[in-house]
Symmetry: C2
Subunit: 368 residues, 2 copies
């Protein structure tokens, strides 16, 4: 499945594996894909620096990338404390009442740090991620929320690093290309995390037709088998961008001590996701659980805008994670969750993707 984007980035397979885990990212890069480390969880740039040191030491010199959350419009800046003042008490009360109702205990008194929320959403933090990442031999810098700021694109290009951006509509992809973005991730509504409404099979060829030769297009959303990779390349994509699929790998260890998240994901079917603003304030596809259902009940408040919603629910997310109840996890994941039915190592998954892709092409060849 070697395509033009493989040649440009020096990778064997056009499988871009987005993951918040440096262990998963390294494993993906080692077996010929491109591991892309999601940076939003690193509130302090030094933590990101350490994770990238790990990647440098564990990718056998193979390429990897980073994904930084940079809102297209620079939001009002502020510390966690003064942003916190913007959260209505009714919302705080709803969260506390819901956690009580769902039987989620408080955090232990000696709780760990990080309670200030995920600051990676903040512009200043995201920019510190860029500065740190560019000191490492990254081969791709992606932005989950649209075109990166112009000077970030310039910095990346000056360092010889291609820039990727996610797009849920063809018009967004066109804007990215005009801004200098090199790789468009056409993200269908079935994807996990922040996502639009147009499905992968419709969106991918629309974006391919819109951007032409000006950018590589990767299909994202609903990819978790070699058949689906073949479908993505049929649609004109140069590769695939996969995120959810790595959450049930053996290497993924961010799901908390009780592994409630992995249990919930392994058990879930493809109809057990919901597109909702409760995670971050922007529409994102999540595992449907008792937590997301609570926000859909009559009387539940409307989620707050980004970044307030994440600050609002951050402690709840930590409590939910610590509680270890698979029915109450708060987890972004795509509809491909229905195909994630066992915990397996990255190398095994990638080998299977490649083998099924080859089988699919052989099958199609008989239709010519």
């Amino acid at each position: 499945m070697r395509t033009a984007v493989c040649d440009q980035l020096g990778i064997q397979y056009p499988i871009f594996g987005f993951t918040p885990s440096e262990h998963v990212a390294a494993a993906i890069s080692r077996v010929g894909g491109l591991g892309v480390l999601g940076c939003v969880r690193f509130n302090d740039a030094s933590e990101l620096d350490a994770a990238l040191d790990y990647l440098d030491a564990n990718t056998e010199g193979r390429p990897y990338g980073v994904d930084i959350v940079m809102p297209a419009k620079v939001p009002d800046e502020g510390t966690a404390v003064d942003l916190s003042a913007l959260i209505p008490q009714t919302h705080r009360d709803f969260v506390q009442q819901t956690l009580h109702k769902l039987g989620v205990p408080p955090l232990p008194a000696d709780g760990d740090p990080g309670r200030e929320g995920v600051l990676g959403w903040l512009h200043s933090v995201a920019r510190s991620h860029v500065d740190v990442a560019l000191k490492h031999p990254i081969k791709l810098i992606a932005n989950a929320l649209g075109s990166p700021p112009e000077d970030v694109i310039d910095l990346a290009h000056a360092a010889g690093v291609p820039v990727a951006a996610l797009a849920g509509k063809a018009e967004h992809a066109l804007r990215h290309v005009e801004n200098g973005v090199d790789v468009i991730v056409a993200q269908g509504t079935e994807a996990g995390g922040h996502t639009g409404e147009i499905s992968t099979i419709v969106l991918t060829p629309e974006i391919v037709d819109a951007v032409g030769e000006r950018a590589h297009v990767l299909a994202a959303g609903g990819i978790g088998s070699g058949r689906q990779i073949a479908a993505a390349l049929s649609l004109g994509a140069a590769g695939v961008w996969m995120g959810s699929y790595w959450l049930t790998t053996s290497e993924y260890q961010l799901a908390g001590p009780a592994d409630a998240v992995k249990q919930a994901l392994v058990a879930a079917h493809s109809d057990q996701t919901v597109r909702s603003r409760v995670y971050s304030g922007k529409p994102a596809r999540l595992l449907r659980t008792r937590w997301t259902d609570a926000w859909d009940e009559p009387g539940a408040p409307a989620p707050l805008p980004m970044p307030l919603q994440n600050l609002l629910v951050n402690e709840a997310h930590q409590r939910i994670m610590a509680s270890g109840d698979p029915e109450v996890v708060a987890m972004p994941v795509g509809q491909i969750v229905g195909r994630m039915n066992a915990v397996r190592p990255v190398a095994e998954l990638v080998a299977e993707l490649v083998a099924e892709f080859d089988e699919t092409l052989a099958r199609l060849d008989k239709l010519r």
Copy 2:
């Protein structure tokens, strides 16, 4: 693109074209696909009989099929008049007020018949469709709402006619196969009309894996190019089921005198659809217009269950159609509407699908 289902049905291409127009259906069958006539609009079985006579005379002996709306559970029977008594006055008032606000005039005093609503939703009418259809040389009988009743499946099989059923989840497909259904239409959420929440790229391989060799699987939703057909076959489908795509063909003449529907469809982008219960009472993807927006406004009533909602809005649909305002049409269509940008004959569209499919396979072959 010859697959096993082509051999079984005696067609050249595994392109199943669902359409309420006998003119479009005939044109699809003539060029090597399978035209499938949607029967729900025929309130009287004799009208369907005449349409099938047209197909018999205009398909050059090539196969065609029918699609009948048979609810899985037999609903309470009733005439249009006594069902009508179940519609709350508040709903009637909302419809009248909305039409007034949108500037949709009343029907002329000498209005045409058919004001009793679309009765094809009713079980007794659907059964009369089956009886009429089986007197013609149909090659497929499909049910838009799940497995047909057991005796309908038996009747069809006794006549040597395979049975198709739509499925939005793998568990529904499995049930269909256990009921004796021969062809499963895996309908993704991006499809027009009644549709579930799982996208085509996720749903198709799930259903293929679930039913195995027991049924042919067609992919539906988001198919409107040769690349998308190649994607569907990559996913394991034996063919594609396309509905929306024929609404902007030259042969389609059911859109009213002013052609407001075609104008609206040709202009629409892929993000201009909405999945809503306002058309029939069950979730269906529609063109997003001022009419559908009105039902999303605060204070709008929740749509009624099937078949009441269609009875409620039937006169409104007729008034909207007669008004000729492209901004207020009420029309089921899938996200593929973004690719329907000109009014063209069926033969030209099918030739283009086939040519692009061949190009796509040639392109993929270079990746082997």
